[in-house]
């Protein structure tokens, strides 16, 4: 039921000299409309930082009407679906907070991304309706005086066609087109977004990269590194504003992927690129890790809320508050670091280094050969370390295997288009499976460490909060033990599977 690519125009902007009140008074008798009471609204447009709703054809508006109260309105940008209006006093932060029918409608689009304010406007609305002989509203027209950010006030006409009455809307559209002082304009979210300095729908992340198998290896290497740098920069604003944990996650993945490629392809990079910047990438990974660990711990606390008895709630609230405080501190440190010279120098220097890499003489290696070489190297390193894993391995040994697993997985993903498709898919599936098993162990180690740190650093915690923290640590320990018991078997299975599927050239 998703509609056509070019929806009909529904917005007009009046020339500067026309006031909204005058325009409403003129349009009402000339088109045969009934006026309603004037409303004053604060509209906040909500979306994810990567504009998932907008790109999916949805607009979610938080409307505060001074007289009628507060509501959330879900609009379709491309279809004639009726607006969904839910009266609520709460502004949702995630899909889980969406009331009424908004949840089922928008959750599949939002996923885990939080909702953030992407633009806002203040509107004074003169509503007009066309009513048929039965008293049925068959079209609506809102004349609005809108102020958005610092863009100054405009007068806008919004034709709100009523579902099932497209003929009436067509006639009204023609009547509005015929008004000399009205010109077609952008939809409100686009107008408000631009006034806020953002382009709705543009999440600025680069399109997926496709490598040419027979191309030069250095070009592929440069393209892969540049793609990660662009991804990182696209996520940067979201990370600095601390709006969306997933944005930080994506940022960190770009950092890790870069570090993986640098370590595996060291022999193909200039000394500068490999050595000089390596410590800087390590620094970038380190400054983001506290925030990410705390984000994940907060999710765990959320999940624990369902599992722990009701009497533990107060203690859990105190723990959560403490973690939130730490998260806010970590965010300040991270935002400052990303605004600083060191990060700026890294980005600039890295880009120059990549450009120099692409300008290098070719050593005759193709992209396909490079991809095979890097995967084989990552695989060898992983297999060597994985063979040593036993039930009694230390957390550091297991962590090292996990890092090598991620390195192999990133290489498979980044060079996917240059690899033998069938083998690459088999490797990716097996690597992901192993990574999940390793994660089941390692994540609990991190949670445990973070909660221990909280207890050590917060002697003022109430006894009930300490008790809950200890309960949480017991849960993490139990999970940890269960994961550890199964780990050698999973690692062994992975090693055997990889040996059976030899990586062949196409």
């Amino acid at each position: 039921m998703k509609g056509s690519a070019s929806p009909p125009r529904n917005w007009w902007q009046a020339s500067n000299r026309t006031s909204a009140r005058q325009l409403a008074r003129r349009l009402a008798p000339s088109i045969g409309l009934v006026p309603g009471p004037v409303a004053r609204l604060e509209r906040v447009y909500l979306d994810t930082v990567d504009w998932r709703l907008f790109r999916h054809g949805e607009v979610l508006v938080d409307e505060d009407d001074k007289a009628a109260g507060h509501s959330l309105v879900s609009q379709s940008r491309h279809t004639d679906r009726s607006d969904l209006v839910v009266h609520t006093s709460m502004r949702p932060r995630t899909a889980a907070d969406l009331p009424g029918g908004l949840g089922p409608r928008l959750t599949p689009v939002l996923g885990a991304r939080p909702l953030v304010e992407v633009a806002h406007e203040h509107a004074e609305v003169w509503p007009l309706r066309m009513v048929d002989a039965d008293g049925k509203t068959v079209a609506r027209l809102d004349v609005e005086r809108v102020e958005s950010h610092d863009a100054g006030a405009i007068v806008r006409v919004h034709l709100r066609s009523v579902r099932g009455y497209t003929g009436v809307a067509r006639r009204m559209r023609a009547a509005l087109d015929a008004q000399a002082d009205l010109v077609a304009t952008d939809e409100p979210i686009v107008f408000a977004g631009r006034a806020a300095g953002v382009e709705p729908g543009n999440d600025r992340r680069p399109a997926p990269l496709r490598l040419e198998r027979s191309g030069r290896a250095v070009d592929a290497l440069a393209a892969v590194l540049l793609h990660q740098l662009d991804t990182l920069i696209a996520c940067e604003a979201g990370v600095r504003r601390g709006l969306d944990p997933e944005m930080l996650h994506d940022f960190r993945i770009a950092v890790r992927r870069t570090r993986s490629v640098v370590r595996l392809a060291r022999s193909h990079l200039s000394r500068d690129l490999a050595k000089v910047w390596e410590s800087e990438w390590d620094w970038l990974a380190t400054i983001t890790s506290t925030s990410r660990d705390l984000d994940v711990l907060l999710e765990e606390i959320d999940a624990a809320r369902l599992a722990l008895p009701a009497e533990a709630k107060r203690g859990l609230d105190e723990i959560e508050e403490l973690v939130q405080e730490r998260r806010a501190d970590a965010q300040s440190t991270l935002s400052a670091a990303l605004a600083g010279d060191r990060y700026g120098t890294l980005k600039r220097g890295w880009r120059v280094g990549i450009a120099e890499l692409a300008a290098n003489e070719s050593e005759g290696l193709t992209t396909e050969a490079l991809a095979d070489e890097l995967v084989a190297r990552a695989m060898r390193q992983l297999q060597q370390r994985a063979a040593a894993v036993t039930v009694d391995s230390t957390a550091d040994v297991i962590h090292d295997v996990r890092k090598r697993t991620k390195r192999l997985r990133y290489t498979l993903e980044l060079f996917d288009s240059a690899l033998n498709r069938k083998t690459a898919k088999t490797y990716q599936r097996a690597t992901k499976r192993l990574q999940d098993h390793l994660g089941a162990f390692q994540d609990n180690v991190v949670y445990h460490r973070r909660v221990t740190q909280l207890l050590d650093e917060s002697p003022q915690l109430a006894p009930e909060a300490v008790a809950v923290a200890r309960q949480l640590m017991t849960v993490f320990d139990e999970r940890n033990t269960a994961a550890r018991v199964e780990l050698p078997e999973h690692v062994q299975r992975f090693v055997e599977e990889m040996s059976a599927t030899s990586h062949r050239r196409r």
Partner: protein, 247 residues
């Protein structure tokens, strides 16, 4: 998406009033709701001020020549849309009879709307026919209004017997007292006798009230023009009971 159908073999028991009021209350709670007026008399369509006309008629929709989507009209109420009645619905049986799986036809017509609506309310004409069977095939719950009289009790037994005799799973049956007048001894007695016996009977009841009759004059659900009336309170309780019974 949940499909609720107001159904009874008997006429004049308050099916349409229940359909319109329940659909309105679902929509008011922020749930996108579609009411399909399957009764050729078009009372629900009239109450919601929509003209009883569907392009292509019953045949067009049932044979999928015209998408059901195209027949949907927004009402004057937020979140509430309507597929209006059409006089040609009197031949709905014939149109269904010419399809391959008539008892699953309504379900297959409504399935594409699952992403758009939380609730679809079917307002059925009083009959026991192929249309009814198709409604049973599509519905998650049948909402059966029952005037507290002996004859109504008998009608409910007939419906239960019929559903039990059908192969496969059948929708949940939720009965409720409608047009209940506590001043009448018979009503009081039937209500008192039936309540402990009938597991499908909801605690909420819609009283016999002048406000329900006035819906035709106001052409709106009771909660819109008489929000504090006994009828409005009754429908509100009924809606909560239905929502809880069909989670």
């Amino acid at each position: 998406m949940k499909i609720l159908s107001t159904y009874s073999i008997k006429g004049g028991v308050g099916k349409t009033s229940a359909a319109v009021n329940l659909a309105y209350l679902a929509a008011r709670d922020g749930e996108p709701t579609l009411l399909w007026d399957l009764d050729p008399q078009g009372s629900a369509t009239y109450l919601l001020r929509v003209r009883p006309k569907v392009k292509g008629g019953a045949k067009g929709i049932i044979r999928k020549r015209r998408p059901l989507d195209a027949a949907i009209r927004a009402t004057n109420f937020e979140n509430l849309d309507l597929v209006p009645a059409d006089l040609s619905y009197r031949h709905l049986d014939l149109a269904l009879d010419k399809t391959k799986r008539p008892t699953r036809r309504l379900e297959s017509l409504l399935r594409p709307l699952a992403d758009e609506y939380s609730y679809i309310v079917l307002d059925c004409a009083p009959s026991m026919s192929l249309v009814s069977e198709s409604v049973f095939g599509a519905s998650d719950a049948l909402l059966v209004p029952m005037i507290p009289t002996t004859l109504s009790t008998r009608t409910l037994e007939q419906l239960t017997e019929f559903l039990d005799g059908r192969p496969g799973a059948h929708p949940k049956v939720l009965t409720f007292f409608s047009l209940a007048d506590r001043r009448k001894r018979l009503h009081r007695e039937v209500m008192a006798t039936l309540k402990p016996k009938n597991a499908t009977l909801l605690a909420a009841a819609v009283p016999s009230s002048t406000e329900v009759e006035q819906m035709g004059r106001h052409r709106a659900p009771v909660a819109v023009f008489a929000p504090k009336s006994r009828a409005a309170v009754g429908y509100e309780a009924l809606w909560r009971a239905v929502r809880d019974a069909v989670p």
